[in-house]
């Protein structure tokens, strides 16, 4: 009779080698990348008009608003850029017209090695939650990097926020943040907490998580891939500690 052990053996090792090696093609679907403005040319007005969430302006593309609908791709933009996209300041999410990015690569180094993560959903569509939870599956195996999910903010070092902040979640979110012992960090995951995403301007919503908490890392995307979320969390550790 086959057993669990035998099955695990026959399945072999599924776990990604990230961050030792770059993210693979299978880990990076087309929409993991951001639309980038054409090199050395202004952004065509038709591209500005095509965006359903006003992420594109003549100044550039705001990744924090982009929901990766791919509509602007027929108007001269292309999905490109690095697969890892986390930044530490909201303004760095703007990809300026004419090309080039302002994305920093240095680690933020505010926390130590092993991190406990606490997920708060303040009004998400579940895709972001499930991408975060996916970090624990054998393909990403966040535990190998010393990252652990906890069910209580009291044990947490990092607050992962997903979803667009709804009015009734403002208070629970604040309380969860206050319950966390210091030093602590906040990671905003997806277009929703960064800018309201697809729901920006709907009644009963806060415009962005910035109004509520100090954010340490922003991960654009709708939703970001598990690799991008992993990258964002690893950026909270000092240099040389990315690989656990």
């Amino acid at each position: 009779m086959p057993s669990w052990i035998e099955r695990s053996w026959t399945r072999g090792i599924l776990t990604t080698r990230y961050p030792r090696t770059p993210a693979s093609e299978a880990e990076t679907p087309a929409t993991a990348r951001a639309p980038v403005p054409p090199q050395g040319a202004p952004i065509p007005p038709s591209a500005v008009a095509s965006c359903p969430v006003e992420a594109i302006s003549p100044r550039g593309v705001d990744q924090g608003r982009c929901i990766r609908c791919a509509r602007c791709l027929t108007q001269g933009l292309r999905l490109d850029g690095a697969a890892e996209s986390a930044v530490s300041a909201r303004s760095e999410l703007l990809l300026p017209a004419g090309g080039g990015t302002t994305r920093p690569t240095a680690p933020l180094a505010s926390l130590g090695r092993s991190l406990h993560l606490f997920l708060v959903d303040v009004g998400s569509c579940n895709a972001c939650n499930l991408e975060v939870v996916a970090l624990a599956n054998p393909f990403y195996d966040s535990q190998r990097l010393g990252l652990f999910f906890t069910n209580s903010p009291r044990h947490a070092d990092v607050l992962l926020v997903v979803g667009v902040p709804t009015e009734p979640m403002v208070e629970p979110l604040r309380r969860a943040y206050e319950a966390m012992p210091g030093p602590k960090a906040v990671v905003a995951i997806g277009a929703c907490p960064i800018s309201g995403g697809a729901f920006r301007g709907n009644p009963g919503l806060r415009g962005s998580i910035d109004e509520l908490l100090p954010v340490d890392v922003y991960v654009p995307g709708c939703p970001p891939t598990p690799i991008q979320i992993l990258d964002a969390i690893l950026r909270l550790r000092g240099a040389g500690r990315r690989e656990g």
Partner: protein, 440 residues
Amino acid sequence: MSGPAWTVTPAERYELSAEHALAYVPPDGAFALYNDYAQRRSVLVPTPSPVRPEDVVATWRDQLVGPPPRRLAPQETVEGYGTFTFPYGPVSMGVPESGRFDVITYGERILELGPLGGYKSRHVLNALAGATIEDAALRIERLAGNVSASHVAAFLAAAESARGESVPRSELWVRALAQELQRVYNHVHVLARIAEAASQNVGSAQSHALAEEILRLQGRAFGHRWLFGALLPGGPARHLDPPDRKALDRELQRCAREFDALWELFLDSRTFIDRIQSTCPVDRASAVHWGGVGPTLRACGVRWDDRLRVPGPPYNDLFLALPEERDGDALARLLVRVQEVRASFLLIEQMLDRWPPGPGSPEPASSPVLPGRGLGRVEAPSGDLVYDVSVANGKLASVSARTPSQANWPLFALGMRNAVFTDFHFALESFGLLFAETDR
């Protein structure tokens, strides 16, 4: 925080029956009876004035749209020595979603459980008035991301019916393929979550791995792991050419074999089966009475599925084995899901095999229920999903929906009466309920 002061007596509860409380009442008072399985077609009976089970129902409905916390199931007041209400949520309850459960208990046993929603209300549907169909679809797929394909397919069907538009046959195939893939993902995810709750660590890890593989396949075929934008013109590029279909078919057949092997091991694990057997039972009469849908309904002996009830392309050309169980407990619901995973793998295999060569003849949309107003319904992973869309001057006038979670929350609350607290996670996961779908 105290809950809303709203309770019903058993007599009133009867009034809050399937047709009245749960059948969704469209905004202008026309009354749609969605729970009529005898009918082969969608029934919409416009009546001049709303049917009047009135005040109770009015209260219910206010609760459904009012500010949080709002009740997702009717609740009785239970009084007695030592009973108290324990609010569970909205964060840190081991469920990755925000919502609340008011548990009335005197200790271990749950006397009454009231799910409360509204914490995630993003007012998605209300904000759609005046939007174009394409822009609205982008919001609707982000209403509940893990069932996005079903929501978009139902919404597009309703909008097409309202506008009397025909659709290329190949688009219907693409929508069906996306929905079946997502059904596999969601059912496997439910299996993984239940295994996790039962501390079946290897089983849960392997089920999560299988779910991840499905997501990656979706990402490869449709350019997006959650299929956002993939069913719309102008979305990310689809990769469904013959070599891609062949590769997809090969991968899925491997996944199907993986799944079978995995399930066999679960069946061998007596502790796992014991844990979910007779947990949170829903009897057939209540399921019918309250208007349950999907695997919840099929697990108590009612074989009802939109894919067979209103078969359009491609389902009318494909072979679909519809499972049925009779016990109505968490095990029965899981068994239904497992068989549905197999049925979906089989459907996908047939689709990839007989993929239409070109766009095909345009398929006329179903006739509008009223001028400028259409219904679309699909079988989402957790059950019957209905969209009701009105269109004026090419823009949306109003959009409303009856989601499977909305229909099934009361059955979950009912099944949890007299359960012990440790049953909670098994029960909740087995229904596949989403706060995101009711907090819209």
